[in-house]
């Protein structure tokens, strides 16, 4: 018997949490991509997942905000508490997304419709006039889809008991990805195989789906058929699975508790992993000396990793302590896995991504761009050329997503990189000044060395003077290697000769003759 759930969904919660009014166009960015946008920005064409520059093109005066999950969680706390008064069995998926068991509260409030309306007004009372969608249906997935579809519509969407399959039938398979029940790869695969709608997927025999798509596909199939939202291999773990820590000295600050929470989470994940399981629903409990208690369930269809658990512990404790309900120190912290499922290895795909070092660097880059400007933080990009400094150019880091390997590959290794005949072989010079320095190359008689049109030197070079520095004796030289680039494009036409010159102090330079003058293009430093 599938349980009946009501989902409360606040779209673009990060923007709401940042305190931006609905009529101000604003976006929340994470790693240079749009994570959430305000209604005004959406109206101007800003899409989720867009790059920052694209968003700015759609809407030039959009306000840019940083992604701050802690801020989102803190802002969502009052809403969670308000909704918690309606129902005991509440679970938070992420800030902006709640799920409740519908049966009890529905009976109490006289029906699903009435319950949904009460929830909407409760959310609006604590979060302001935000867009909120409420959906009631059998199964978590159908309820979540209903809530998303209810946003901006004519009110909550109530799917009749037993009507979930019909409700989901005509909807596109992309919904599996929106709600987090399947990843983009699997959904793409379904689409390519002609399964455009959830009904198409549900119509396939379960055994065939399992054989062809594996456990992830089987789960998607069950969810699409509104069969049972819990995974086939989900079960309730015995009570002794929970991990807890009692404190002899009550702890007043959140940070040490989170630190302990990290150890508990690592322990729990390790224990579950030895059984090949991962936790999908976690209950976090904390108690103070005076008996005050916070207990909340956190749900995630894909399973909670240790960092995800720690994040939620921090959100819960932050919210609880900030609300001022705490008059003493905490003596107990407990993590209890409420629902687990077999670990199909899905997790790796969903969370294999940028490493911690990549994320750290990307965050630092954003901060540095704020300090020195966008043009002060640069990354190399392939350009192509023969002269030093031509092959790679520098582009602002804000135009790229440093954590996206496809983006980086595109930037650094283009598909067409020709042979560039005429370029000098390795080793390349390490010192390439942004502006070529003027130089004087003289022969043994002190006369300026000239390069003829046929690429011959007037005399062997004897002394090299770079800029204001003292003249150096030339101990070795090679060239001249003429270069006639882009003769078909007069503005960019370059005609020059290159020499490698080694001087008495042990340095080597790449010296150019262009327009009858000598320049030092680069030094081998």
């Amino acid at each position: 018997m599938t349980m009946r759930y009501v989902t409360v969904w606040c779209p673009d919660w990060p923007v709401v949490a940042a305190g931006v009014a609905a009529e101000v166009p604003a976006v929340v960015l994470h790693a240079n991509r749009v994570v959430a946008r305000s209604p005004a920005a959406a109206a101007q064409g800003v899409l989720q997942g867009q790059r920052r520059r694209s968003a700015q093109q759609c809407c030039p005066d959009v306000v840019l905000l940083d992604h701050d999950p802690d801020r989102d969680a803190r802002a969502f706390e009052p809403v969670v508490r308000a909704v918690g008064r309606f129902a005991p069995r509440l679970e938070v998926v992420e800030p902006g997304w709640l799920c409740l068991d519908a049966r009890g509260p529905s009976r109490y409030f006289g029906g699903d419709q009435s319950l949904a309306k009460q929830l909407m007004s409760a959310v609006r009372a604590h979060a302001g006039p935000v867009a909120v969608g409420v959906g009631v249906a059998d199964g978590r997935f159908a309820s979540a889809v209903a809530a998303r579809r209810a946003v901006g519509g004519r009110g909550p969407i109530i799917v009749d008991p037993g009507g979930s399959a019909a409700f989901l039938d005509r909807l596109p398979v992309a919904w599996l990805q929106h709600v987090g029940e399947a990843d983009a790869e699997l959904v793409g695969l379904f689409a390519r195989m002609g399964l455009a709608r959830l009904g198409d997927l549900a119509a396939l025999p379960a055994g065939d789906v399992l054989a062809r798509f594996g456990p992830a596909g089987r789960h998607a199939h069950r969810v699409a058929s509104a069969d049972d939202d819990r995974r086939a291999n989900a079960e309730d773990p015995p009570p002794e699975r929970r991990v807890e820590q009692c404190f002899d000295d009550p702890v007043v600050q959140v940070q040490p508790l989170v630190f302990v929470g990290k150890h508990l989470a690592d322990q729990l994940v390790a224990e579950l992993a030895t059984e090949g399981q991962v936790c999908t629903r976690l209950v976090v409990t904390a108690e103070t000396e005076h008996g005050e208690r916070t207990e909340r369930a956190w749900y995630r269809a894909a399973g909670l990793s240790a960092p995800a658990m720690v994040e939620r512990v921090r959100w819960q404790l932050d919210g609880w302590m900030e609300a001022g309900n705490v008059s003493a120190g905490v003596v107990l912290l407990r993590l209890a896995p409420d629902e687990v499922r077999g670990d199909d290895g899905d997790q790796l795909r969903l969370w294999g991504g940028p490493s911690a070092a990549d994320e750290r660097a990307a965050r630092a880059v954003t901060r540095l761009a704020g300090m020195v400007g966008d043009d002060g933080v640069l990354v190399p990009a392939w350009h192509g050329g023969r002269l030093p400094g031509d092959r790679y150019g520098w582009v602002p880091a804000s135009t790229t997503d440093l954590t996206d390997p496809d983006d980086t590959a595109q930037r650094l290794r283009p598909d067409l990189s020709g042979p560039w005949p005429g370029s000098l072989p390795a080793p390349s010079p390490a010192v390439v000044q942004p502006e070529a320095q003027t130089a004087t190359l003289t022969d043994a008689n002190g006369e300026l060395v000239q390069v003829s049109g046929r690429g011959e030197l007037s005399a062997p070079p004897a002394r090299l003077t770079i800029g204001d520095r003292p003249a150096q004796t030339v101990t070795g030289w090679a060239g001249p290697w003429p270069l006639d680039e882009r003769w078909w494009e007069p503005p960019r036409h370059r005609r020059l000769a290159r020499l490698q010159v080694v001087t008495a102090d042990g340095t080597a330079h790449l010296v150019l003759a262009e327009h009858r003058n000598w320049w030092v293009a680069a030094s081998y430093g």
Partner: protein, 234 residues
């Protein structure tokens, strides 16, 4: 003999220094007393091969996954960086621009250290002792490595930033270019490491860069049929 050494390494207690290090490419290992770059330290690269040395040092940690930031080094040659082994996916350049006040540099380096484990930078000409200590403390707290290049470090003094290690190419001989023919093939250098972390100065002979652009150890060669032009850098 080798097996016994492996066993010894396996049963030896792991010291803090060995765990908290960043790797260094093989030819450069003899320059470091710990055989690697110890995190939290500041290394300076001086002399004619300073930039190449700095890039060569940064190559191995970045290949292993660390990110390198190049702060206020506008003369960086990217092709040389690639040839010396730095993966460009993890290279970021920070240009403070024309304003170069020392407090801004310190704030900038501080922000850079938050996200990058290897920082290559030019030290500002004048640095007050307080600012230098702040930067050093930050480097240690972040367990990063600061590599200083540039001419603001005189041969005698080192400026107020306490440097743990100084690397300098004391002799440099370019090979491949003669009187009007050839092409630069490689540079044989003798790199010396000195400093307060090096009880006795260490020396190693290297190709920096070698044929192909990377750092390599000098191997015995028979085809020395031309007289190398011997230069000694002061």
């Amino acid at each position: 003999m080798l097996a016994a050494m492996d066993l010894a390494a396996a049963v030896a207690p792991t010291t803090l220094a060995r765990q908290r290090t960043l790797p260094v490419s093989n030819p450069l290992i003899p320059l470091f007393p710990d055989g690697a770059l110890v995190r939290g330290r500041a290394v300076s690269c001086q002399g004619v091969a300073a930039t190449s040395l700095a890039l060569a040092l940064a190559a191995e940690p970045t290949t292993a996954g660390a990110w390198v930031a190049v702060v206020d080094v506008p003369w960086l040659g990217v092709e040389a960086a690639v040839e010396l082994g730095i993966p460009l996916e993890r290279l970021v350049r920070v240009d403070p621009g024309l304003s170069g006040s020392r407090s801004e540099w310190a704030d900038l380096v501080g922000a850079v250290l938050d996200g990058f484990e290897v920082v290559v930078t030019r030290l500002p000409r004048h640095l007050s002792a307080t600012v230098a200590r702040r930067v050093q403390a930050r480097v240690q707290a972040r367990e990063a490595v600061l590599i200083a290049v540039g001419s603001s470090l005189s041969a005698a003094g080192r400026g107020p930033l306490p440097l743990d290690l100084t690397l300098e190419a004391t002799t440099a001989v370019w090979e491949g270019v003669e009187q009007g023919w050839g092409c630069l093939r490689g540079r044989r250098v003798t790199v010396t490491s000195t400093g307060r972390r090096v009880p006795r100065p260490r020396q190693v002979e290297l190709w920096l860069p070698g044929p192909g652009g990377g750092v390599a150890a000098i191997e015995e060669r028979e085809d020395v049929d031309v007289e190398p032009v011997l230069l000694s850098a002061g």
